[in-house]
């Protein structure tokens, strides 16, 4: 589209941005992660993942992030399908339903969940009103998953909705003309064509869910530590940058793994064959 000179000029601001604020900080993190206080190469800090039960925290993080991602996908997929079928008049509803919650500070909405789930919170007060037994909801893994799903659901819906809305109606009609029933149309046509949206949705939910520390701190009551909380504590409380960075690098490995897995299933690559 652009000639080479123009392209380079247009690209320069981003490259400078990426270099200063993405690449150099990454190098710092890795460098801090593999050195000790004296600045010598050391993998001791990396090895800490096997101590103090940090591995349990990592396992819990991966498990909760996976569960949240699956719930988001199960909630978002039918919803996006229904919304695309009534495409014309729905764009405003879409933006209202899914963009509006994003305008609200996620910290505030998580704190709102806190007051809803607390033992004297809104749900339990309603239960008490009907003389029903109250439930312990806050400070449980379930509360954290709920917070994750609430916060990250829009990131699943938006790419899914866009990829479903992009599917040409004529393709669906052609499928029906060729004798496919609605299940076959869904399984053989709609699902494969919506996979790119699902893949980016999964990535956009799984990664923030894996790294969050705010949601688990507010809804887990400090009793359930995710790997994000441990990294946060290393930086803010213990002020040990080396351990914090080493754990961040380990977490990054999981993120890269997730991205490799998702791109392996990305059908966009196959499209190049057409």
């Amino acid at each position: 589209m652009f000639n080479k000179g123009l392209r380079n000029i247009l690209l320069t601001p981003f490259l400078i941005w990426a270099g200063l604020f993405i690449f150099i900080p990454l190098i710092f993190i890795v460098w801090y992660g593999v050195t000790d206080y004296g600045g010598n190469f050391s993998l001791v800090n990396m090895g800490l993942i096997f101590k103090h039960g940090y591995l349990d925290a990592l396992e819990l993080s991966v498990a909760l992030a996976l569960i949240s991602t699956i719930i988001c996908l199960l909630l978002a997929y039918p919803l996006s399908l229904i919304l695309t079928e009534r495409q014309r008049d729905n764009t405003t509803i879409i933006s209202l339903l899914f963009i509006l919650p994003l305008w609200m500070n996620s910290l505030l909405s998580t704190m709102a969940w806190q007051t809803i789930l607390e033992s004297n919170g809104i749900i339990n007060q309603i239960l008490r009103l009907f003389s029903l037994p109250t439930m312990q909801m806050i400070n449980t893994p379930g509360a954290i998953v709920l917070g994750m799903v609430y916060n990250f659901l829009p990131y699943m819906v938006l790419p899914l909705y866009i990829s479903l809305a992009k599917i040409d109606h004529h393709i669906l009609e052609a499928a029906q003309d060729l004798g496919a029933n609605s299940w076959q149309t869904f399984w053989r046509v709609i699902l494969p064509l919506s996979l790119p949206g699902a893949v980016s949705g999964i990535t956009m939910v799984f990664i923030p869910a894996l790294t969050t520390f705010v949601i688990s701190a507010l809804l887990g009551g400090g009793k359930l530590l995710l790997i994000g909380n441990i990294i946060e504590q290393e930086f803010t409380f213990q002020y040990d940058w080396h351990v914090g960075c080493a754990l961040s690098v380990i977490l990054m490995i999981f993120i890269v793994l997730n991205m490799l897995l998702t791109t392996a299933f990305d059908p966009l690559k196959e499209e190049e064959d057409f």
């Binding site: 101590k51 103090h52 039960g53 940090y54 349990d56 925290a57 607390e118 033992s119 004297n120 312990q136 806050i138 400070n139 009551g221 400090g222 009793k223 530590l225 441990i230 504590q233 803010t236 409380f237 213990q238 002020y239 040990d240």
Partner: protein
């Protein structure tokens, strides 16, 4: 050509930087680095008006986050307000300088002798620090829910109150409790004893509703829990808001903490720093800060000047000396021991 332009830009940036830097130096300022929201902002205005010294205030939220910023000297602060054990750490690493008490008449006159005496545990000879706030740690409990007498840390292990207990989310404050219960020092360094203390906290974890920091106030005001471990200053605020609550200091002993003013080694405005610290010890200013904060003050002139009767007669704000006499204060245990405490605590939290 390109290089020339770059060089020009760099040179102009540098001269601009120097120019503004030089300008700052001539100004009459004092750089203060203190806990977040730890001063009545009005007192700073009065100070500036009276002395013409401009106060530049930065705030920290933990002693641990303050320390490296001072140690690395990225920013030159003149006055700091750390806690007891952190003052000891700053002294042992030669980062703060002895005060000139001739320049601090208000401190000499108004700060109670018992607080200077207690300060000696972390500042031998009282050379480096002037106490600003102090307090204890105790159990605040809901009288309508807790039927047993609250006079021992033991009640935090009572299964009757499962899910109704709030604990402090910090290594030293959490481990202090089982250590005191065992009759040990809160500055214990024997790893066997510490392992036992850790074991007790792990056993207690199923009973704990949450490990909290600042949010403890909110939760207890809203009667979210039956009891919680709180600092006396927080207790004062909770008691004011929730009349069902009562505060008790367990018989096994508690932490007598002191936050104090110190002057950094490389302070550039030493005179102004002394003026600032002395100003903070002036009775009329100390009263304003006490009303604003609710933390007990070592300033003996405050109680007479205090106008809020509820505060003035509160045994939490102005405890009788037998509450804090003979109590321990945290000491700096060295880097290695600090890390050991933290690792014990992390293990409890992920358990």
């Amino acid at each position: 050509m390109k290089f020339k332009i770059l060089a020009l830009v760099l040179v102009s940036l540098l001269t601009f930087g120097c120019g503004s830097g030089g300008g700052d130096k001539k100004e009459n300022v004092v750089y203060v680095y203190s806990w977040g929201d730890y001063l009545d902002p009005e007192t700073l205005k009065i100070f500036e008006k009276e002395t013409g010294i401009h106060v530049i205030l930065d705030e920290f939220d933990t002693n641990e986050s303050m320390y490296p910023r001072v140690a690395e000297g990225a920013v030159h602060y003149d006055v700091l307000c750390p806690s007891d054990y952190m003052i000891q750490r700053l002294i042992s690493n030669d980062l703060i300088q002895p005060l000139d008490f001739n320049k601090l008449p208000n401190a000499k006159q108004n700060i109670g002798a018992e607080f200077f005496k207690q300060s000696e545990t972390f500042d031998p000879g009282n050379k480096y620090s002037v106490p600003y706030c102090w307090g204890t740690v105790g159990i605040i409990y809901d009288k309508t829910k807790v039927t047993d007498p609250v006079d021992s840390w033991n009640i935090l292990w009572n299964e009757k109150y499962a899910g109704q207990i709030l604990m402090q989310d910090s290594a030293r404050d959490a481990l202090m409790i089982p250590l005191k219960l065992m009759g040990k020092s809160m500055n214990e360094t024997d790893k066997n004893v510490l392992a036992q203390a850790q074991e007790m906290l792990i056993k207690q974890k199923p009973l704990v509703q949450a490990y909290v920091v600042d949010e403890v106030k909110e939760k207890l005001i809203n009667s979210e829990a039956a009891m919680g471990v709180v600092f006396s200053g927080e207790a004062l605020i909770i008691l004011e808001e929730n009349p069902n609550m009562a505060f008790a200091i367990p018989k096994e002993g508690t932490n007598f903490w002191i936050d104090g003013w110190v002057i950094t080694k490389d302070a550039e405005n030493v005179d102004n720093a002394h003026k600032f610290i002395d100003f903070m010890c002036r009775p009329d200013i100390a009263v304003k800060n006490f009303d604003y904060l609710g933390y007990s003050t070592p300033n003996i002139a405050v109680k007479e000047l205090e106008e809020n009767e509820a505060y003035k007669n509160s045994p939490v704000a102005f405890p009788s000396p037998d509450v804090y006499a003979g109590q321990e204060t945290y000491k700096y245990l060295g880097n290695e021991m600090d890390e050991y405490y933290n690792s014990l605590w992390m293990k409890i939290k992920v358990e």
